[in-house]
Symmetry: C2
Subunit: 189 residues, 2 copies
């Protein structure tokens, strides 16, 4: 049951509505978890029932009303308890890698196209994360910020997200190149 803890962790630094949370979790700005809006609305309801977050209604006249949530003391305690339990190992679970596993038996063109698409997607996230990191550390160098900054958790997780997407991009590029060269070699012969 880690979604609830991911939500709690996301709400530590700012008060957010379900909708805002959904953007964070859906567009992958959250490098530490991913979830559908529907999951989040449901989880927020449960978290409030369990007293781990509190919501306050914000009336808006130009937009629909919204509820902003923040973590309670009980929520913080729950996060603390969660942190103390052993972490499960994390695994890759990726459609595209499955397809590459079958590379010797399926159409190469399609694979190369999908690798290129994924690479571009990864690059977009790399750029996004670069900007986020810069915003978080302000005028300081990374070393300075990590040594003396106040809220470094989000920065550290963003670094993980950045490295992950760089790994993604590099592997896609390399794999596409390999497949392209083999294709060329086969045609020539």
């Amino acid at each position: 049951m880690a979604l609830r803890h991911a939500v709690l962790a996301a709400l530590l630094d700012e008060e957010l509505s379900g909708y805002q949370l959904a953007k964070v979790f859906d567009l992958g700005v959250a490098n530490f978890w991913h979830a559908q809006p529907q999951q989040l609305y449901a989880e927020l309801t449960r978290l409030e029932q369990d007293g781990l977050v509190t919501g306050r209604e914000v009336v808006q006249d130009t937009r629909p009303n919204k509820r902003l949530f923040r973590v309670t003391d009980a929520g913080l305690a729950e996060l603390e308890r969660f942190t103390a339990t052993a972490a499960k190992p994390s695994f890759i679970r990726d459609d595209l890698v499955v397809k590459v596993q079958a590379a010797d038996h399926v159409d190469t063109e399609t694979l190369i196209a999908q690798l290129a698409e994924r690479s571009a997607f990864a690059q977009a996230k790399i750029d996004l994360f670069g900007g986020l990191l810069h915003t978080m550390r302000g005028d300081h160098t990374e070393e300075e910020f990590l040594r003396h900054g106040e809220r470094i958790g989000p920065y550290l997780t963003c670094l993980r997200g950045l490295a992950f997407e760089q790994g993604n991009r590099d592997w896609c590029e390399r794999t596409a190149t390999v497949l392209r060269e083999r294709q060329g070699a086969h045609v020539r012969h």
Copy 2:
């Protein structure tokens, strides 16, 4: 429904029993997917019903009998069809990263211990993958093998797994160092 395709991809190069498949998917030797034994037994049953794999009973007297599965022509066609559909983006979903997101609010000692544990786990997989890659390419260099080898799919996915675990290890080490130094600084003051 990518588990079935992961199973098909895993069975392309060798005939395996449910039990053997489970080891591949469970111990994480499969860098492209992860699944529980129970999922695999169920999926193999379904795949056989759908005619995408065929099983043959192998009678053993010293061990329980087993069923070895291989991909049928229909199975290959299904993989081909799957490869042609757009790949979903892949996301990090990691307990430990959630905990680091909350680093500024929870106990640091526990976090450092878990980062060290994860780092060691990642290193073990790096060593394992290094050996697997060496076995696959034999006496050739990586470049040679990728240019002229026959079955490069598993090699390419193993490279992805390797890079993923290296990213994991490096981030864990860096994060643990950052947290340790801050801890020291706080104690000194």
